[in-house]
Amino acid sequence: MIKLDGGFIQNLGRVYGLYTLGFLGFVILMAIFEAAGVSNTVIGWLFVAFTVGIYAMIGVLSRTMESKQYYVAGREVPAVYNGMATAADWMSGASFIAMAGGIYLKGYPYMAFLVGWTGGYVLVASLIAPYLRKFGCYTVPDFIGTRYGGNLARFCAVVILVVASFTYVTAQINGTGTVAARALQIPFELGVWIGLAGILFCSMLGGMRAVTWTQVAQYIVLIIAYLIPVFWMSNKLGYGLIPHFAQFGAVERVQELEALLGVGSMMPTAEAQAEAGKLAALKVGINDASDSLMAKWKFFTLVLCMMAGTASLPHVLMRYFTTSSVKAARQSVGYSLLFICLLYLTAPALATFTKLSLLDPNVATSIIGKSVAEVSTLEWIQQWSNVGFLKVVDGNGDGIVQINEFFMRGDIVVLATPEMAGLPYVISGLVAAGGLAAAMSTADGLLLAIANALSHDLYYKIIDPKADTKTRLVVARIMLVVIGAAGAFVASMKLTGILGAVAWAFCFANSGLFFPLVLGVWWKRANRAGAVAGMIGGFAAGAWYLYMVQFGGMTPWAGIDGLRFGMIGMPVSLVLMVVVSLMTEEPDAETQKMVEEIRVPSGKTIVQQ
């Protein structure tokens, strides 16, 4: 072991520097193994075993029985590392696996997610996170419960947190299962449970402290895994060294090709689509920003919902409870965004280069315009057809693959890119390890948010306020296992695609929590009755609307579909909260003084625990 002077926190740079070098060394070793003829299955296993083994080791080394360590990592995480951990916490299977595919298939309208999921951090930094850090709570419902007083407000916040986070966590466990199943060549259901075991190893013994340090490690793996293939493709296709700058030239070429191949005008025939089932053909161009009012409105509403959701999702907000000061919390939001942007700036480039690889007749790997017989012999087409991720349906029977005859699942843009572009298998293994890191790190944060709310707010604050630290931490761990198992059980039933559930989580969170959180800091007059009305009303209205649109057969109002139901929940929440607050008595002097205290960064935290 390396000798550390002055403890772990003082040596973070060295520890994670060595870790990064070690990981790169491992990748090179795998490349050598591949050249030496070791089978793909073995390489896949080694990638998963090595990375998950390291996360589990960090989890075990970070075990703790102190409540401050368990809930907020001792409040000693430096801003930069908290930024990295937040980025891993934030970037889920949806960001890593589904995002580039979404841009590929759905074009410009889909990029509203990119804008929403980054701009939300401006709200986090300016409206919420620093104030909650000053407050000194362990969980988000802890803030709601103390600021507004009373068990009912706390309980409402717990319920919304659980619903939003649980919706989200099943998608992550599902993602873990998908990647594990492919890399290890095992059934999906088994992959889900193996993934869960890894997730629990990282969080159970050390709570927030363990999750923080594994998330930093997971961020390093996922960002390396995401960037390498894109750099490789950009250079291989000859557009330039740095994909982020090279992509604009490539976009112009893609737009030419899309016009030529009839993207947006050649729709799949009804029979072909029926045969392809849920798989989709390319129907929207990469830069088709429509001028219609509806298109603009849909972009606007999606951006707004994702932003407000970012600023109310408890697993993100609670990361800023771990910094050493209010100032560090603010800076840490900046670092989070920086580390997130590293991946989000790359996703459109990946989508664009993948399009070139598939559509450009001058590129050897292209398939559109080739004969169906020739395309069907390609190894990656066969592999991914076998697992139902893509399908070629010769709709007009001319024996040539047209743009409206190639159906796929968006996820394969990231997962199959290395094979599509003809990169060595070691890159596929790397991408699998990255996808696993992304899904696991988010699942960890979410499970912890749920389990902490149940153990700290429901059990300790509401049910048994006299419980000692040891009992509380045991309860916290039991909750973690129970919620994890429930999540894995739901995930193994494969109810929704990865992204549908993710957007729902954002809308549940913003419908119920956004205004109670923001107004709790910014409006002294906000009181308990108003907050409770805002939480219940907003959440119920949003949930009702989602149910009606998704399952009740209702036509969405003004293009507000299931991805955007926060547009219904948020206004209801705001109006109820303001009206009910004004109709009832103003908060007592003590509460008002507490709000004034929150606004001053220096001095002791409000809650001492």
């Binding site: 701009g119 976009v251 920003a289 050493s324 942007c341 700036l345 001053v600």
Partner: protein, 85 residues
């Protein structure tokens, strides 16, 4: 509330308002013009959604954090970092 606290909060509010106005322009106003950003020479809509807005948000957050810190220092509300354990 002391007048010092009052003044600190007034400045904080005005900084936050400025930040949110810039945020709203980058998030909503620019993208409302979607197709209008595109020209034959450059895919402007794609650029703004895929890169421009994101970079602008990151710069905005760092700028906000440093300005807010200056305000806190000015009123003596900056935090003295305790020695680490």
């Amino acid at each position: 509330m002391s007048s010092k606290q009052d003044e600190h909060w007034t400045k904080t509010k005005s900084l936050t308002t400025t930040t949110l106005v810039i945020w709203a322009i980058i998030s909503f106003v620019i993208h409302w013009f979607g197709e209008g950003l595109n020209s034959d020479a450059f895919p402007g809509a794609y650029f703004m959604a895929g890169m421009g807005s994101q970079v602008a948000f990151a710069v905005l957050v760092f700028w906000f954090a440093s300005r807010q810190n200056q305000i806190d220092e000015e009123f003596g509300f900056g935090e003295k970092l305790r020695g680490r354990k």
